[in-house]
């Protein structure tokens, strides 16, 4: 008798905590997705500023550095020089 009551009580608390939990986790997932959508493009931009070579199957740039951006900058300047 006491055991079943205990059982019922724990079931009740479980139900109550479950009432909170799903909505909590749904909100967490929502915010996480939102943060991914928000920071993903910004991160991609930041990676591109320091990427040397980055083409299709590579998940991240295969070469990192500050050279190519600056080199091509200088080249455009030279090609425009009279």
């Amino acid at each position: 008798m006491r055991n079943t009551m205990k059982h019922q009580l724990s079931l009740l608390t479980l139900c109550q905590s479950n009432k909170i939990r799903p909505s909590f986790w749904i909100q967490c997932v929502f915010i996480l997705l939102f943060a991914f959508a928000l920071f993903g493009p910004i991160t991609n931009l930041l990676i591109w500023t320091v990427a040397e070579t980055w083409y299709f199957p590579h998940a991240l740039p295969s070469e990192w550095g500050l050279n190519i951006g600056t080199k091509s900058l200088i080249l455009t300047v030279m090609s425009q020089a009279p």
Binding site: L45, W48, A51, L66, N67, T70, L73
Partner: protein, 222 residues
């Protein structure tokens, strides 16, 4: 590696540096033009006795209420007749009209929050209207006017469409450079330029985050 290349990015002869210099120069001139016309207008419109006050306020809202792409096309056509296309003045004028709404509305709010008793006291003590304005009224409205300057500066820095029609190809600002580099597939330069544009925007957001409470925004324009 490192410092040497960043030095070359900011070399005054590189594309990015020259675009940055002309962008900042245009933005500063735009702020000056907006200040010159919107401070007097804001002061006059802050007086409740102003006739047709609502009409004037709405007039300055119009540039934000219509899709302005068509307007820019026609400004470019009109400017072409006056030889303003591809000139600094033309671009500054286009940016100023766009920024005018912010500067006028914020100036009105700034001057409305000044104390009219101080102004009256100064006049009663024998000070002229111009002296009173510069020594009593303007200092009180300064925080709002500075905020409007930052808004106009950022709007001008980020403006693409107007510059595209009126300034290109003679004037190259950062957004135009970003566009050209991106269309050529030169993503590194496009991204570096985008980063340069991003820094003041994010910086400004963090600064005004304190003042930008949604509750305050709902009171705007009331």
């Amino acid at each position: 590696m490192g410092v040497k290349y960043w030095h070359q990015v900011f070399n005054p002869y590189s594309d990015v540096s020259s675009a940055l210099i002309s962008s900042v120069f245009i933005a500063v001139l735009t702020v000056i033009v907006c200040l010159l016309v919107s401070v007097p207008a804001g002061y006059a419109l802050s007086k409740r006795s102003m006739p047709f006050r609502a009409f004037w306020m709405l007039l300055f809202l119009i540039p934000q209420a219509f899709p302005n792409l068509t307007v820019y096309i026609n400004i470019a056509r009109i400017f072409y007749d006056f030889g303003l296309n591809g000139t600094l003045l033309g671009v500054v004028l286009v940016h100023s009209v766009h920024g005018l709404m912010f500067s006028v509305w914020i100036s009105v709010a700034a001057f409305s929050s000044t104390d009219p008793m101080l102004e009256r006291a100064s006049r009663n003590l024998g000070a002229g209207p111009i002296y009173t304005f510069f020594h009593i009224v303007l200092p009180q409205a300064m925080p709002g006017i500075i905020a409007s300057c930052i808004f106009v500066f950022l709007e001008s820095l980020d403006e693409f469409t107007g510059t595209f029609f009126v300034g290109a190809p003679d004037i190259t600002t950062l957004p135009l450079l970003l566009y050209t580099a991106s269309m050529e597939g030169n993503y590194q330069i496009a991204s570096i330029t985008a980063l340069i544009l991003l820094v003041p925007s994010i910086g400004f957001m963090i600064i005004i985050n304190k003042f930008m409470k949604p509750e305050m925004l709902s009171k705007l324009g009331k």
